[in-house]
């Protein structure tokens, strides 16, 4: 039994975590999969693990998801 759950969560690392560089590189692909509910975390477990652990990348993911679901996307055409 662990008596310090917050500390334990903070220090626990996931070996599947791909890090910020790879998550950022594929964030546009991953976010569209999430938007389509297409088992994104199963296809990209390393990115899913990273977004759970990295606050800044998680924020970017939330922001990008909000952007593609927002009204801007409806009229997001070149001309």
């Amino acid at each position: 039994m662990n008596g310090w759950p917050a500390l334990d969560r903070f220090l626990r690392t996931d070996p599947r975590d791909v890090g910020c560089a790879e998550a950022m590189e594929l964030l546009h692909v991953y976010v569209e999969l999430v938007d389509k509910d297409a088992s994104a975390a199963e296809r990209y477990p390393g990115i899913a693990a990273h977004l759970r652990a990295c606050g800044p990348c998680g924020e970017d993911f939330d922001g990008l998801l909000a952007a593609i679901r927002g009204p801007g996307e409806i009229t997001g055409q070149a001309g």
Binding site: L7, F10, D17, E32, G55, C57, G76, Q77, A78
Partner: protein, 222 residues
């Protein structure tokens, strides 16, 4: 399937995107009034995303009014420049707009990180270890154990971490410096700082588990 080698004879087929993305790429990589109109249209879309992203993160910022809008314009301008410069790298793995919005979201994060240092709450190198128990979320009702554990963490930080890991741990954990702000201050990358902190967390966990403060990682099922 291995990708075709564009350097080996014959014509190389142009990438095929969805119609909307194709139009963006064609017009942005062209010239004249059509390109100018597409650039203006993209600028408007990016500015809207930058503003809404800054609003979304508003609670963690101490920025309002004209300063906030100034950051939105800066993020938009830098994102647009990056998108145009990297247009050839768009591979159609997503819609063009999703790929483009990513740039402005990243720029907003970077601008917020740099802005932190205009009014920092704590100097980067401050070391107030009394803050540690609260920063680690240790239960105040268990005062003796809490002090004992915080002392153990302090010892591990001093004895097991490299100077760089120690610096990053103190900034992020003790001084609550946002990662993007630390990236800007150290002239580093988010990936490098994250990796430094990742390794520090692993070392800390192993040392605390070895001393009986936490369960051994291998004894738990995830």
């Amino acid at each position: 399937m291995a990708p075709a080698d564009p350097t080996v004879g014959g014509t190389f087929p142009l990438p095929r995107f969805d119609p909307g993305s194709d139009k963006w790429v064609q017009t942005l990589s062209g010239a004249g009034p059509q390109q100018e109109a597409a650039l203006a249209r993209l600028h408007d879309l990016l500015l809207r995303i930058a503003r809404s992203e800054l609003q979304r993160r508003g609670r963690q910022l101490r920025i309002t009014g004209p300063e906030l809008d100034d950051l939105a314009y800066q993020a938009t301008a830098d994102a647009l420049l990056a998108i145009v410069g990297k247009l050839g790298q768009f591979r159609g793995e997503s819609r063009f707009t999703t790929w483009a919005y990513k740039f402005v979201v990243f720029e907003v994060s970077a601008k917020i990180g740099r802005h932190f240092w205009s009014k920092p709450a704590v100097p980067l190198d401050a070391e107030d270890w009394e803050r540690l128990p609260d920063r680690l979320g240790l239960d105040p009702a268990r005062e003796t154990e809490r002090r004992d554990l915080a002392g153990a963490v302090h010892r591990v930080v001093d004895e097991h971490l490299t100077p760089r890991q120690r610096q990053v741990f103190i900034a992020i954990v003790l001084n609550d410096v946002p990662m993007d702000a630390l990236v800007a201050e150290l002239g580093s990358t988010r990936n490098t700082i994250y990796k430094t902190m990742f390794d520090a967390r692993r070392k800390l966990r192993a040392a605390l588990a070895a001393n009986g403060y936490l369960d051994d990682e291998t004894s738990r099922h995830s």
